[in-house]
């Protein structure tokens, strides 16, 4: 129910000027009986940072794996640079940072980068990759000797060393401290300024807000809201009104200040940034209005889940 409401408030994708560099169209992905993605449309515009924001298990990693050709969709189409991503040629222009537990620990940082660079047609010079990832002083260390944050930077280095046009970063800043996170944000911004396209997944609204040109909220395998960070934040800043009313959803939708409206059984659910104004208007139009309830966070279904997961994660780290 809430998902429909969010979609109703989203800006149409066709307004975007930049041509998409990769996209999912009507993509579903099942793992056995689990539906990881349900009929998802996702456009990645060239030269932008797109954040896929959602809680753990929302389907973010599945979307990344589909774009990398690591998984094949159960239904729908996936295209990267116009081609099916299961063709290895497409991968020469993609750099990926996946969530991995560990990588071989007995190779040095520069050896890992040297090997990965050799896979790509026109890689960055080693010194350049080391500089961007902030690893110059650590280049002779064995991977196993690095701290968690430093390991994360090596994975980032492996993603960028091939000088790819498209970067897919799956939870790139998980486990990083505040300073390291900001440093990686700066590097990602810098890469986009130099013409790269970035898709990053995150479960931090703050991270999506700080980095992304566009945010797509994903939950339980479905796209929820999408828009600029300002639009997404505006939604979270609003209130949710629940009531029982004889007014139709169309009538309510026409009231100034209503973002979206939906029926939930006998209840009507309204999201608004100006709840007081909307309630006054509702009461003046429907004298029989009952059971009014106002709650904060219009996107609570998506974002309460987000915050909860974030807190759990941080609790584990501490």
């Amino acid at each position: 129910m809430s998902m429909e409401m969010m979609t109703a408030g989203a800006t149409p994708l066709t307004q975007k000027a930049a041509p998409p560099i990769a996209w999912l169209q009507g993509v579903s992905k099942n793992y056995g009986t689990v539906q990881a993605l349900r009929s998802v449309d996702l456009l990645i515009p060239a030269g932008e940072i797109l954040a896929l924001l959602g809680p753990n298990g929302a389907g973010k990693t599945t979307a990344v794996n589909l774009l990398l050709g690591l998984a094949t969709p159960t239904g729908g189409t996936v295209r990267v640079f116009g081609a099916d991503p299961s063709y290895p040629e497409a991968r020469t222009r993609i750099g990926a940072m996946l969530q991995v537990a560990r990588i071989p620990e007995t190779l040095r940082v520069r050896e890992h980068i040297d090997l990965f660079s050799s896979y790509y047609p026109s890689p960055l010079p080693l010194s350049e990759t080391l500089r961007i990832a902030g690893l110059t002083d650590l280049k002779d260390r064995l991977f196993g000797q690095l701290s968690g944050g430093q390991k994360q930077r090596v994975l980032f280095a492996l993603a960028i060393c091939g000088n790819p046009d498209l970067l897919l970063l799956d939870e790139p800043t998980v486990g990083l401290d505040v300073e390291a996170r900001r440093l990686m944000w700066d590097q990602i911004r810098h890469l986009v300024r130099s013409g790269k396209t970035v898709l990053l997944t995150t479960h931090y609204l703050q991270e999506a807000d700080a980095l992304a040109d566009r945010i797509v909220v994903i939950n339980k395998g479905e796209i929820g809201a999408e828009g600029t960070p300002a639009q997404i934040k505006a939604k979270t800043a609003g209130k949710r009104i629940q009531c029982v009313t004889a007014l139709s959803t169309d009538e309510i939708g026409a009231i100034a200040g209503v973002n979206c409206v939906a029926r939930n059984g006998r209840n009507t659910v309204i999201d608004s940034r100006e709840p007081e104004k909307v309630i006054r208007e509702l009461m003046s139009r429907d004298a029989a209005l009952t059971d009014i309830e106002v709650s904060s966070a219009a996107l609570e279904d998506a974002f309460l889940a987000l915050t909860r997961d974030t807190q759990v994660q941080e609790g584990q780290v501490q």
Binding site: A18, P19, P20, I21, Y31, V34, A36, A46, G47, T61, T62, N65, L68, L70, A71, F81, G82, A83, P88, E89, A90, R91, T92, R93, I94, A96, L98, Q99, V100, A101, R102, I103, P104, T106, L107, E111, D114, L115, F116, S118, Y119, Y120, P121, S122, L142, L155, L158, G162, D165, G195, T197
Partner: protein, 269 residues
């Protein structure tokens, strides 16, 4: 950026010379393994230790038999050693790297998948050569083993090439076993199979029913080929043993392929 959306521009990126990727992959796979004491030490030291104990120290107490025994066990412990190098490198290596998600990162890159396996085979062959050289030197200098340079060379060659079927078996184990159970699975296969195939002590000393089991085991066939290079050419035609090992390789690769596809389908996140 407009050009980046067209498929044709993919062709404009010249692919780097493939052989360099293969060489680098092999170089770093070898470095990775040699720096891993948990792999490198037992892989080389176990066959060496067993050969010194059984093939040199114990054999020297059997007057008249010592030379024969030292030479015989040189071949069979050589086979035992390279089988271990292959099973652990592939079985444990692939299972671990798969479990850690490292194989995913590799698959997401433009690395040709064959480079990964090529590198592991090369690593395994280098370890096999080191094992063969250690045992031959020990046998010649301390075990009174008299073999010609040609025999030593052909024994080394048989051991190095003979590790390939066991790389294939290891690969199948690597995709079938979990990252935590792979070591146990490999040991449960490796040690009994080595013993029953007459690689620890000559087959003739084993009970009859075990001798019959041996004929069904791939390590037995590699043992026979190794023995043939040092002058013990009994126990069936050489081509028979070669055919058995080729069949083993193909069967193991088919199983590995099926297990790989099952694994790729399970990928979840």
């Amino acid at each position: 950026m407009a050009t980046t959306t067209s498929v044709s521009s993919l062709a404009s990126h010249a692919t780097p010379p493939r052989y360099r990727v293969y060489l680098k992959e092999a170089k770093y796979d070898f470095l990775k393994m040699i720096r891993m004491p948990a792999y490198a030490l037992p892989t080389i030291l176990f066959p060496v230790m067993f050969y010194v104990l059984f093939g040199i120290l114990l054999a020297s107490r059997q007057p008249g038999h010592s030379v024969q025994m030292s030479t015989y066990l040189l071949a069979t412990y050589g086979a035992f050693g390279v089988i271990g190098a292959a099973l652990f490198s592939f079985g444990v290596g692939v299972a671990t790297e798969r479990g850690q998600g490292w194989l995913q990162v590799k698959r997401a890159s433009p690395m040709p998948p064959t480079a990964y396996f090529f590198a592991k085979v090369v690593t395994c062959m280098i370890f096999s050569l080191v094992i063969a050289a250690c045992l031959i030197l020990l046998g010649v200098f301390f075990g009174n083993v008299h073999i010609t340079a040609t025999m030593a060379a052909s024994l080394s060659l048989v051991l190095v090439l003979g590790s390939i079927p066991f790389c294939a078996i290891g690969l199948a184990i690597g995709y079938l076993a979990g990252p935590n159970s792979a070591v146990a699975v490999v040991n449960l296969i490796y040690l009994p199979a080595g013993f029953c195939s007459g690689l620890w002590i000559p087959l003739e000393f084993l009970p009859h029913f075990l001798q019959r089991v041996a004929y069904q085991l791939p390590p037995y066939h590699l043992g026979r080929l190794a023995l043939a290079t040092v002058g013990y050419a009994h126990g069936g035609h050489i081509l028979l043993h070669v055919a058995e090992l080729v069949f083993t390789t193909i069967a193991a690769l088919v199983i590995a392929r099926i297990a790989y596809q099952r694994d790729a389908g399970k990928l979840y996140g």
